[in-house]
């Protein structure tokens, strides 16, 4: 999987003044790739608004981590708060975008990313509230799993994180938007044909006349 391709495409979603939450894993790599001067507030659900990547020469504050447990720094204008305020911010829709990873997504926009029964069940964390309550939920994931199976399904099989919550899916092969009509192909990886993409995707795709490349 081409991680940089997904991250570089994801960064194009960021706009001046937004409040953004980054899920553990692929999404947190966004912090490594953006200019620290970009006027965006990254919310970390352990209780801060205004996270930024720690520079190599600055001292570590042992009481300052992100939700994934990585030492971080804060930008000018940052604030700290308790966990109830953090999730009040999330449930009231004050976080504009959440980027999350996924085990499965489907053409109705449902998301499964918290549990694989009998194999992986570490708990819910902030995932359900972020997925259900953030206005813009953008999924970053590989298009296919290691065996080549599509992660973009007609219907999720794993326990759901939230139903019909996804706005956009960015994979290494495509950018897909969830609409009332279904899953619309917006952009396709430049080294792939539409026929190849369809063959590698379980979900039904709506193919418009104009498709961008990335």
């Amino acid at each position: 999987m081409n991680v940089n391709k997904i991250i570089n495409r994801a960064i194009q979603e960021l706009k001046y003044g937004q409040i953004v939450n980054l899920g553990i894993g692929l999404p947190t790599k966004i912090l490594d790739h953006i200019s620290p001067d970009l006027d965006i507030f990254f919310q970390s659900e352990n209780g801060l608004l205004g996270a930024k990547k720690i520079s190599e020469d600055s001292p570590i504050n042992p009481e300052l981590i992100d939700a994934g447990g990585t030492y971080i720094d804060i930008r000018s204008g940052a604030s700290f708060f308790d966990s109830s305020v953090s999730f009040a911010m999330i449930r009231r829709g004050k976080v504009d975008i959440t980027f999350m990873g996924a085990f499965e997504v489907d053409q109705e926009g449902s998301l499964a990313n918290w549990k694989i029964p009998g194999y992986f069940s570490p708990g819910i964390g902030g995932a359900m509230e972020l997925a259900q309550k953030t206005p813009k939920v953008i999924i970053l994931c590989s298009h296919n799993d290691k065996k080549g199976n599509s992660k973009i399904l007609k219907k999720c099989k794993l326990p759901l994180t939230a139903k019909k919550c996804i706005t956009r899916i960015i994979t290494d092969k495509a950018v897909l938007d969830v609409t009332n009509e279904g899953l619309v192909l917006k952009e396709i990886a430049e080294d792939l044909t539409v026929e190849e993409l369809i063959a590698q995707t379980d979900a039904q795709l709506i193919i418009p006349q104009n498709i961008g490349t990335f």
């Binding site: 659900e45 352990n46 981590i65 700290f80 966990s83 708990g123 509230e129 326990p159 759901l160």
Partner: protein, 228 residues
């Protein structure tokens, strides 16, 4: 002058077997490691522990769990602790999961002296049983009960003798909520300071919620571990 300061062994000795204990912290920051270490040393058993996560293996509440002192863990996410995940999978530890903000709100609700609240979080998922749903103002909503506890173990950056608390950076997390929701609140702080050095406008937890204060080393060794 009122002084809530007490020796760590004396205050932890007030915790009986079977107690429910809220423990502050999200990963390392805000975890009261010294109080937990003393609870591990004294060895109270059949505890119910309420904490956002299970720390990492061999530190924090994981020590209590690994030592067989904990019957039940009420939490949000234990993914950074493979030992506790394994104990749960082998059914040697009863674990109850909540969405993180719902866990926080259950504790906050108890801290506000209430008994529960209504939410739509997770109602379309397997964490919701239909029996938990009620119709309210034309919406189908889930009842979540308030979560009280016998004790709270809190880590504050600063405290005065009265127990006015200030938390550092991201170490606030669940601490101020738990300080309100538990019947007996025990605080560890590396900085026991004079009241005059704290600004009343900037107190996070007012002294009324605090019963006992323990002065600890500036930072226990757990904070020096890489990662969190």
């Amino acid at each position: 002058m009122m002084n809530k300061q007490i020796a760590i062994e004396d205050v932890i000795a007030t915790i009986p077997d079977g107690a429910s204990i809220m423990v502050g912290g999200f990963g390392n920051p805000g975890t009261p490691f010294a109080l937990i270490n003393e609870l591990r040393r004294q060895g109270q058993r059949n505890l119910v522990i309420i904490k956002n996560d299970a720390n990492e293996d061999s530190i924090g509440i994981s020590k209590l769990i690994e030592n067989g002192q904990v019957d039940k863990l009420i939490t949000s996410h234990i993914g950074l602790n493979k030992v506790v995940v394994e104990l749960m999978n082998r059914q040697l530890l009863n674990v109850e999961f909540y969405p993180q903000g719902i866990l926080a709100e259950k504790i906050r609700n108890a801290g506000a002296g209430c008994f529960g609240f209504l939410t739509d979080v997770g109602i379309d998922t397997e964490i919701t049983d239909k029996s938990q749903l009620i119709k309210f103002q034309d919406k189908e909503l889930k009842i979540e009960s308030a979560l009280y506890a016998d004790f709270a173990l809190i880590h504050a950056q600063n405290s005065d003798n009265y127990g006015n608390l200030v938390y550092g950076s991201a170490a606030m997390n669940f601490n101020p909520l738990m300080a309100m929701a538990a019947n007996q609140v025990i605080v560890e702080t590396p900085n026991l300071v004079s009241s005059d050095s704290l600004s009343p406008e900037h107190i996070h937890t007012p002294s009324a919620f605090v019963n006992s204060i323990v002065k600890v080393e500036f930072l226990t060794h757990e904070y020096q571990l890489a990662g969190a």
